[in-house]
């Protein structure tokens, strides 16, 4: 899978967890999910579960710790598929 293909598949997952006052077009590959997009940090685990289902991969605890942006997620997914 190309980076672009992964990104397109990740977008709708992240959109689900956006607070109501953050628009979907504010998402870019480098946005900090909790810091900039204001996603509740508790929802990071839900994002990971959705990503695992979508890509049929499994994140380790260490992967979770390094997850800040969509680019981080893409890098982790690249390693696993």
């Amino acid at each position: 899978m190309t980076t672009e293909q992964i990104y397109v598949k990740l977008l709708p997952i992240v959109k689900t967890y956006l607070p109501e006052d953050v628009a979907a077009d504010e998402i870019n590959p480098d946005s900090d999910l909790t810091g900039e997009l204001n996603i509740n940090s508790a929802h990071l685990v839900d994002i990971v579960l959705d990503v695992e289902d979508a890509f049929e991969v499994e994140f380790a605890n260490e992967d979770m710790e390094s997850l800040r942006t969509l680019n981080d997620a893409i890098a982790i997914i690249h390693k696993k598929i």
Binding site: T16, Y17, E20, N40, A42, H43, V45, D46, L49
Partner: protein, 404 residues
């Protein structure tokens, strides 16, 4: 559901009890229950799509709907950016998020604890209901959950009342909620306290005060009242249903006839008497009793306790009825759902029919006149009403309302 539909239903004596094939296939003795119908569309009037993701807690669903409806009816603005320091919440439950907890247990046992997601705790903690309501509203005074079995809802009202009377808050949202379904009701089925005799005639099954009462029908749902000082309500021009005059909460100590599952009658009477005393009224001023009256063989004992505590019997006894004939026993939610029915009767001047007790229990007929238990809706001015709830653990709660 909602104030107008609920008012119309209790006036008409409409039963909400249905037969559930799921309970039949699980081999329940009692295959009946009261479950408020909530459409997917209605859920979205109260919750965001994100909140509804992996949501599986009926008690929180009912509690949030009742709580938000009460705030909206009271014309209170909520949900803004700032904390509401003067608004608190006491929203009780017996056990919360049972279906979600079951989901979690299966995953844990399947070595998939990491798949529980982020909302399992919030949906299964007892305070999940007050916590969800707190987040939606911004309530920032005391936000908590009480639990005293079937006395929970009435106790919540008194806890909110005391908090305001002590000068600690201006407004308290007081209510209680109960999950529905086999995992909540199964323990009661096993205790043989539910009726098994009416599976083919659900609307006849819940028979408070009847000679043919044979156990209660489990219900679910939530009720909520917004309590505040008179000045605060008047300033906003809010609809005032009634004033809380006072009340009392106690326990029979599980002594002298009281046990985990049965009330000590001495404590019940004491609770009623002290509620009257704390309200500064005479028993003769009480126009209406909203009973606990679950439709077990113990209903006559409750009536006798009311007679003794108030010193009134025969034709001198107040009107009395039981909502449980229509909605079943909503367990932890019963006190608040029934308190809502009480203040609606006061506001609109009627006494709802006690359904399914045309064959009034002979022990009850010996104690009070038949006219005290309206079988059809009657119009009546209720100035002073008393509502009591009794729960497992031998706990009692009794509140007195006055029309203003």
């Amino acid at each position: 559901m909602g104030i107008p539909a609920f008012t119309a239903a209790i006036k008409a004596g409409t039963s909400g009890i249905r037969h559930f094939p799921e309970l039949e296939s699980l081999q329940f003795s009692c295959q009946l229950g009261g479950i408020p119908p909530v459409s997917e569309e209605k859920k979205r009037d109260y919750f965001t799509e994100l909140q509804l993701r992996n949501f599986n807690s009926s008690g929180i669903l009912y509690g949030v709907i009742a709580g938000i409806d009460a705030l909206a009816d009271a014309n209170i603005e909520f949900g803004g950016d700032e904390p509401l320091w003067e608004l608190g919440i006491i929203f009780g439950t017996g056990t919360s998020g049972v279906d979600k907890f079951r989901e979690a247990i299966y995953k844990v046992d399947d070595h998939k604890v990491r798949r529980l997601g982020s909302t399992t705790v919030a949906q299964t903690m007892a305070s999940g209901i007050s916590a969800h309501l707190g987040g939606i509203t911004g309530a920032a005074n005391r936000v908590t959950t009480n639990s005293s079995a079937c006395a929970t809802g009435t106790e919540a009202i008194l806890m909110g009342y005391e908090h305001i009377a002590n000068g600690n808050a201006t407004q308290m949202l007081c209510g209680s909620s109960s999950d529905h379904g086999p995992y909540v009701w199964g323990g009661f089925d096993a205790m043989k306290v539910l009726t098994y005799k009416h599976n083919l005639e659900p609307t006849k099954a819940s028979r408070p005060m009847s000679a043919s009462a044979s156990g209660f029908v489990p219900g679910s749902g939530a009720g909520a009242l917004l309590l505040e000082s008179l000045e605060s309500a008047e300033q906003r021009g809010a609809t005032i249903y009634a004033e809380v005059l006072g009340g009392h909460v106690n326990s029979g100590g599980q002594r002298n006839g009281g046990s985990m599952t049965a009330p000590n009658s001495e404590a019940v009477k004491r609770c009623i008497r002290l509620a009257v005393e704390s309200s500064g009224i005479l028993p003769s001023e009480i126009d209406y009793i909203n009973g606990h009256l679950t439709a077990t063989i113990k209903d006559p004992v409750e009536i006798e306790n009311w007679c003794d505590a108030l010193g009134r019997r025969g034709a001198d006894f107040p009107y009395i009825n039981s909502l449980k004939g229509m909605v079943g026993h909503c367990l932890a939610a019963s006190g608040s759902v029934e308190a809502v029915s009480t203040v609606l009767q006061m506001k609109h001047g009627f006494v709802f029919p006690s359904v399914n007790c045309d064959d009034t229990h002979p022990e009850i007929s010996k104690l009070i006149a038949s006219e005290c238990i309206p079988k059809k809706k009657i119009s009546a001015e209720i100035n002073t009403a008393i509502k009591a709830s009794f729960g497992f653990g031998d706990v009692n709660a009794c509140v007195i309302f006055r029309k203003i």
